[in-house]
């Protein structure tokens, strides 16, 4: 008795499976209902639902994929499953939502108490559909109800990658074919079907091995569905309920009503006419004109140009992340030609430092990290750096953005790399670029965090990254329900998942690569996420080196060389060069909508497709095989081509907006990752569209867009705020001045090393290690490569460089579109007290000492040239001189040498103290 009760209890507690096949139950019960006392569906319910609900849940507009006008629609339910539970009004969403006042949303449509009671009585009576009951036979499960069960409970051992007992349970034909013990099913006879027998006996899936393959036990309801399906003869339906946008005549997709497509962000950007403005003298280019137009509306205009030195420092940090070289300072400040600034920009755009600065923004948006995160082990991603290098190189080379995106979303489908006789740098880039889709935090390498929901979380993070960084839509909301503000039905979320299915299939999962010593690991890792297709040149060089080592080792052993010589040789072996990539493996499983986001509750099947609301402008999404007889599906390639279609409503807008934000402090659309209705509308829609069209039509050339933004008067403006600006444009919505900004974590770190003369500008390659000090401070490890720019230092999700965290260095979970700009006391503590800063200040002082010898005035000047990119003004010169002398006195007093001595050691220390004060000063940390 107790055990039976317990079993029931367990069912309840552990059975988060929900309703697997509620549809059948609904109708069965409805048919057995006595109808005498029940309200009539046709006479009473149907007219009520039509009137109150039909506008949004009808034929043309079918919110939540729910049609409440017809009995068929009510029976089918919506995207979250059934809406009625016969006889149980208190478990019927239709009744509950209305009762709670959530539906209908417009209070004017609210139901009266009698009407509400009518629904209650009807459901309580079994929800009988009096008129047409005999027309619709009770539904039986089809392969679409059964296959997801088998995929989640059985396929890890009886599926694509493993067929234990030679059995594959993924389709009806393979079930009929069966395995070693015979066919798995006997249609029409569940009791003799081996599948049912084994499962009912509790032999399958085997309890002891569940965790090993990250599978949960099969639920009684699932067994019942299997049984019903077999009993009904294992029917396979070919007709699906049509719900794809393409299944309707154009513009009549009931899940995305026409009216909702009118929102500005869903229209293709149109070239705006550059306005004429009054302050023509300030309008150096079209960007200025668009801004001036809005400023003049409120009697403002662009602020005056900044001083040369301010402009130089601003542009230098902005484009390279470092202060100007002292030589540049002198030449720019003395360059009197009118195009001096344009030529400065050319030099900065041409600098390899440009890519190191601007790649960072894309890496933030992509969520770049050198580890998997989520688990204690923070599994390393030792090959991720190739993607980082690819982004830096592409940024420097100004690879057109459409190609940049194409490579990252479908690089593997651009060339038949497996058949290529040579892996060229181009093919290599295509594969490395797909690392973009491998950036989400991921703990699925471990059995216990590798279950279906864990895998789906990884995919969801990738969709979130793609949605926020590329599409500018919070598409992630539609994972569990249709989007509440934007016309993105849940169906479209899952159609998008189907696009990625060839590579991201939760039923056919490639796990991150695990090295030894990280605890229990699944047996079914099928090859990991690495591809060996580095360039043929790199591979040959590696092979040569390895075979040479092998030869030397053999020789050394033969010659009886000492053990440490052998060990040295062994340890100089290098790991095989690999690429962390994403590739289509072909033959993806069917994609089903997960009701309420729950993989245990699959709904309708969907085909790959793009969000319906974004269609109509672009060429349609059409999947073609990327090359003859390709294994890859071509789904992602079609998606990438759609994204980069010149008429795409969002791709270009989202990118120019991000670039704008990083130059001017706020986006034209403030919510960088959300152009939908819950985001903020653009402050300058015409400018946004002008930039977007310019971007698209001039070859998606990013540096050209930068130039548009930087060569105008807007970028040259002073950052000074006077009373009028503070009053009329307090938030700088009209861009009437440049924002004053703090150095980013990277700029600060790099610049501290730069001024100290110790920045190692070696580029590219494996990431620099981090080390944790005993007190918890984490810094780049002190080795020869430690003084490289921060972008080359490991970015570990669970071990952030602590001192930089306080300067808003992001933890990637999953990505970061916009960093905070914080001001906290630990920043001050770090700059005042940290040993590394102290040491760098001393190096800085040594460098100054070498240039300026003992001449205190020159020392002060050099400090300003190098740290501030300008000479000191008179007050600063005087203050600096006095301070150094005062500090020297303090040092020699504390050395016990008396106040008046001219101790060179005290002077050296005084200069270091002065340098440190400069590195702590607002003038150093803020850019005007």
């Amino acid at each position: 008795m107790a055990l039976a009760w317990l079993l029931l209890l367990l069912l309840q507690v552990l059975g988060d499976a929900g309703v697997c096949f509620a549809g059948a139950g609904v109708i069965d019960e409805a048919q057995t209902t006595t109808r005498d006392a029940a309200p009539s569906y046709a006479r009473e319910l149907q007219p009520l639902l039509q009137a109150k609900c039909g506008r949004c849940h009808g034929e043309k507009d079918r919110k939540a994929a729910l049609d409440l006008r017809t009995s068929a629609g009510i029976r089918r339910g919506g995207e979250s499953g059934p809406v009625i539970s016969p006889r149980r009004p208190d478990e019927s969403p239709l009744y509950l939502r209305v009762q709670a006042g959530e539906m209908p949303p417009d209070p004017a449509d609210a139901l009266s108490a009698e009407q509400l009671d009518l629904i209650r009585r009807w459901v309580a009576a079994g929800a009988p559909f009096d008129l047409d009951d005999h027309d619709s036979p009770p539904a039986v499960p089809s392969q679409h109800d059964v296959v997801p069960i088998l995929l989640r409970r059985c396929a890890p051992c009886h599926g694509r990658n493993r067929q234990e007992s030679m059995l594959d349970l993924r389709s009806k034909p393979s079930m009929l074919r069966g395995g070693k013990s015979g066919p798995a099913i006997v249609p029409g006879n569940p009791d003799v079907s081996l599948l049912i027998q084994r499962v009912v006996a509790g032999e399958m899936p085997p309890h002891e091995r569940l965790v090993e393959v990250s599978v949960k036990p099969i639920e009684p309801l699932e067994i019942e569905t299997l049984r019903q399906w077999i009993a009904a003869g294992a029917p396979e339906v070919t007709e699906e309920v049509v719900l794809e946008p393409g299944d309707f005549p154009e513009g009549t997709d009931p899940l995305v009503p026409t009216a909702e497509r009118d929102f500005w962000a869903f229209q293709t950007p149109c070239a705006a006419v550059v306005p004429t403005v009054s302050h023509r003298e300030r309008a150096r280019n079209p960007v200025d004109a668009f801004l001036l137009q809005k400023q003049e509306e409120v009697g403002l205009k662009l602020s005056p140009d900044s001083e040369r030195s301010v402009l130089l420092r601003r542009a230098s940090f902005d484009l390279t992340g470092l202060p100007p070289e002292p030589d540049d300072v002198e030449s720019f400040l003395s360059d009197d030609l009118p195009d001096a600034f344009e030529r400065l920009l050319d030099r900065l755009f041409g600098s390899p430092r440009f890519g190191e600065r601007w790649a960072r923004y894309w890496l933030d948006a992509a969520g770049y990290a050198d580890s998997e995160g989520k688990r204690e082990q923070d599994l390393p991603r030792p090959h991720a750096w190739r993607y980082r290098d690819y982004v830096i190189r592409s940024t420097n080379a100004d690879v057109p953005f459409d190609q940049f995106l194409l490579q990252q979303i479908a690089g593997d489908e651009l060339t038949d790399y497996e058949a290529a006789s040579e892996i060229t740098p181009e093919v290599y880039d295509n594969l490395v670029a797909t690392g973009f889709l491998r950036m989400a935090p991921d703990a699925t390498w471990a059995n216990i965090t590798g279950y279906l929901p864990d895998r789906i979380d990884v995919i969801a993070d990738e969709v979130d990254i793609l949605g926020s960084a590329v599409l500018g839509l919070s598409i992630k909301c539609a994972r569990c329900h249709s989007h509440k503000f934007d016309p993105i039905p849940q169906r479209d979320y899952y159609r998008l998942l189907a696009v990625f299915r060839g590579a991201y299939d939760e039923y056919d999962w490639l796990k991150p690569d695990v090295r030894a010593g990280l605890g229990p690991v699944s047996q079914d890792i099928v090859g990991g996420r690495l591809l060996p297709f580095v360039t043929t040149a790199e591979r040959r060089a590696w092979e040569l080196r390895e075979s040479e080592l092998t030869r030397q080792l053999a020789e050394a052993k033969a010659a009886g060389a000492p053990a440490d010589r052998i060990r040295d040789l062994e340890s100089s072996r290098q790991a095989e060069p690999m690429i962390q990539a994403l590739w289509d493996r072909g033959d993806p499983t069917t994609t089903y909508i997960y009701r309420r986001g729950d993989p245990l509750n699959p709904g309708r099947m969907v085909r790959p497709g793009v969000p319906s609301v974004l269609t109509g402008w672009t060429a349609p999404y059409e999947v073609r095989s990327p090359w003859p007889a390709a294994r890859a599906t071509g789904r992602r390639l079609a998606f990438a081509r759609w994204l980069t279609d010149p008429q795409h409503p969002l791709t270009a807008r989202v990118q120019v907006n991000q670039i704008w934000k990083h130059h001017f402090g706020s986006g034209l659309v403030r919510s960088l990752g959300n152009f939908g209705r819950a985001g903020t509308p653009p402050t300058h829609p015409e400018l946004l569209d002008w930039l977007a069209r310019e971007f698209i039509e001039r070859g998606w050339n990013r540096k050209r867009i930068h130039r548009h933004m930087l060569t105008g008067s807007v970028y040259r403006q002073s950052s000074a705020v006077d009373e009028q600006l503070a009053r009329v444009d307090p938030q700088n919505d009209r861009y009437t001045r440049m924002p004053m900004v703090r150095l980013s974590a990277e700029a600060l770190y790099d610049t501290l090393h730069f001024v100290a003369g110790s920045l190692n500008e070696e580029r590219f390659g494996p990431a620099v290690d981090l080390q944790a000090r005993e007190d918890g401070l984490i810094t780049p490890a002190e080795q020869s490569r430690a003084r490289r720019r921060l972008i080359y230092v490991k970015q570990l999700r669970k071990k952030l460089a602590t001192h930089l965290e306080n300067f808003d260095y992001p933890q990637m979970n999953p990505n970061c579109l916009e960093r905070r700009d914080s001001l906290v006391a630990p920043q001050a503590l770090y700059l005042m007290n940290n040993g590394t800063v102290h040491e760098l200040a001393e190096r800085f002082a040594d460098r100054i000492g070498q240039i300026a010898a003992d001449d205190v005035t020159r020392q002060v000047e050099q400090v300003y040239w190098i740290a501030m990119g300008r000479p000191p003004v008179e007050t600063e010169r005087v203050l600096g001189r006095e301070a150094i002398e005062q500090l020297a006195k303090s040092w020699s007093q504390s050395d016990g040498a008396g106040a008046e001595t001219n101790d060179p050691a005290a002077h050296r220390r005084a200069l270091a103290s002065f340098c440190r004060a400069i590195l702590n000063s607002a003038g150093f940390l803020y850019i005007d």
Binding site: L14, G673, L879, S890
Partner: protein
């Protein structure tokens, strides 16, 4: 419940008032700009505050009155990483005694992390008795706490959603099973600021012996500014990172350098009117200096009497280390720190084996310090405004987990997400109540189940915050501690 709002120019009225009520006075740029990021509609605030001629301040931590009456103004979270065993501490199960040794694994196979070492139904090695006037059941593993049960509200029906440490710890700390979200402490300080401006609003006292699972992510502020991140105070060495110079300098040099920096910043600022961030930055250096003093003072337990030290078990093995942290926690809330979080090394409660010995050792290290803390708070009147929260990330299974040699005497218990216990005490909490129930085995919460979001909502409620109204706008979406799920305040627990 809407989880997202369009930027319609309107946030909920109470929320707007909430921030406007703190927008005057010394509110400067930092919070104003924070506000403009967080709650778009509060535009124009920067301009207003700019005209307020008052001393600049680092205003992230400006104390803010909660929207409705708070019962607690400070909170001490005693986080018990590892999953303390409910049926060996607070939830006696006679069924386990009666059915000890019976097989059960097959019925819960999907709920066991380590099937290979799963054993039979296992009775508790500890003895239970009723205590206090309320008659609450506590096992003999925690004799000191048993003497204070009349102050505790015990929840026996906690349930979480994952049986692996990392996701379960993320969930209880941040409301989501993955990394990247602000922790409870960050949300609280974001919502309420701190009463003490010379110390961080959210202080973490971690164990010198090691960090909990998920390390520093346990006090990360996620997408909230780092001002809301927990600050680790170490009991040895420099208590806060970079609090003291790595390379000490003579006092007069430090002074001269500080004067120079001030003069440089003054010069810089004078040239740039209308940039309140520069005032705030100067203030941040002043705060840094004050922090150096205030931190040392707060950590100096030598100011305490011998009898106080004894209450916490300081000076005695094995309670000394945790006892010090408990005492420091009291000293911090005394000074107005909003949120204090205590850790104990690694996962001493993760008793996969050696339940009888290892779990007892965990109790021995914490039992007296915690009972001492409760008594001390009470005797100083701090119990009226301090909420104390005890608990881990999940519970344990009623079946045995066997060591490699299958020796049942060394058995432990595996993880269990469907039931665990936690308790609260202090401000606003009804003492002596036992809330909820598990099934006969203690396997799953069946009566009055309390989810992790419920637990969060209850804590926020005690602090005067409503979980639905405490949010930040991220990319147009309302992000909350309790996420998109409905959460309820556990009313039975409120005094």
């Amino acid at each position: 419940m809407n989880d997202c709002v369009p930027d319609n120019g309107g946030i909920s009225g109470s929320r707007r008032d909430f921030f406007q009520s703190v927008s005057g006075g010394i509110f400067g740029a930092a919070l104003a700009s924070l506000l403009s990021q967080d709650v778009g509609p509060v535009r124009g605030l920067a301009a207003e505050s700019r005209q307020v001629d008052s001393p600049p301040s680092l205003n992230y931590l400006q104390p803010r009155s909660p929207p409705f009456a708070a019962r607690a103004t400070s909170i001490i979270h005693l986080f018990m990483n590892g999953g303390p065993s409910q049926m060996d501490l607070f939830d006696p199960k006679p069924y386990l005694d009666q059915h000890h040794g019976e097989p059960f694994f097959d019925k819960i196979a999907g709920e066991v992390e380590n099937p290979q070492s799963a054993g039979k139904v296992m009775r508790s090695p500890f003895k239970f008795a009723r205590h206090g006037e309320c008659g609450m059941w506590v096992s003999d593993a925690m004799p000191q706490l048993a003497g204070r049960v009349d102050d505790l509200a015990l929840i026996r029906s906690m349930a979480t959603t994952n049986l692996t440490h990392e996701p379960a710890v993320y969930l209880i700390q941040t409301g989501k099973m993955g990394p990247g979200r602000p922790t409870l402490g960050s949300w609280v300080v974001y919502g309420l600021g701190s009463e003490c401006q010379d110390l961080p609003g959210y202080v973490v006292l971690d164990d010198p012996l090691g960090l909990p699972v998920n390390g520093v992510e346990n006090w990360h502020s996620g997408f909230l500014p780092p001002a809301y991140q927990g600050t680790r105070f170490r009991s040895t060495g420099s208590p806060v990172l970079n609090l003291r110079p790595d390379v000490p300098q003579p006092e007069q040099v430090v002074r001269a350098e500080r004067d120079l920096r001030r003069r440089l910043d003054d010069l810089h600022r004078r040239e740039r009117p209308g940039q309140p961030v520069l005032d705030a930055r100067i203030a941040s250096y002043e705060l840094a200096a004050r922090m150096q003093m205030a931190t040392s003072d707060a950590l100096d337990v030598s100011q305490e009497t011998a009898s106080t030290l004894a209450m916490y078990g300081i000076g005695q093995a094995p309670t000394d280390s945790y006892g010090r942290r408990c005492l420091i926690a009291r000293r911090l809330v005394e000074r107005g720190v909003r949120f204090v979080q205590l850790y104990i090394n690694g996962q001493i409660w993760d008793n996969h084996t050696g339940l009888a010995t290892d779990m007892k050792a965990a109790c021995d290290r914490t039992d007296r310090p915690i009972a001492g803390l409760l008594a001390d708070l009470k005797q100083r009147g701090l119990f009226n405004n301090t909420l104390v929260v005890w608990g881990g990330e999940f519970g344990r299974l009623p079946i045995a987990q066997l060591p490699a040699d299958k020796d049942e005497r060394k058995a432990g218990r595996d993880h269990n997400k469907n039931a665990f216990c936690c308790w609260m005490a202090g401000a606003g909490v009804r003492g002596g109540v036992t809330i909820g129930a598990t099934d006969e085995l203690g396997l799953a919460a069946v009566e009055n189940k309390v989810t992790v979001p419920d637990w969060h909502a209850t804590i926020l409620h005690l602090l005067g915050l409503h979980h639905d109204d405490l949010f930040v706008l991220e990319n147009g979406l309302k992000e909350r501690l309790t996420g998109v799920t409905d959460a309820r305040v556990v009313q039975e627990l409120l005094a």
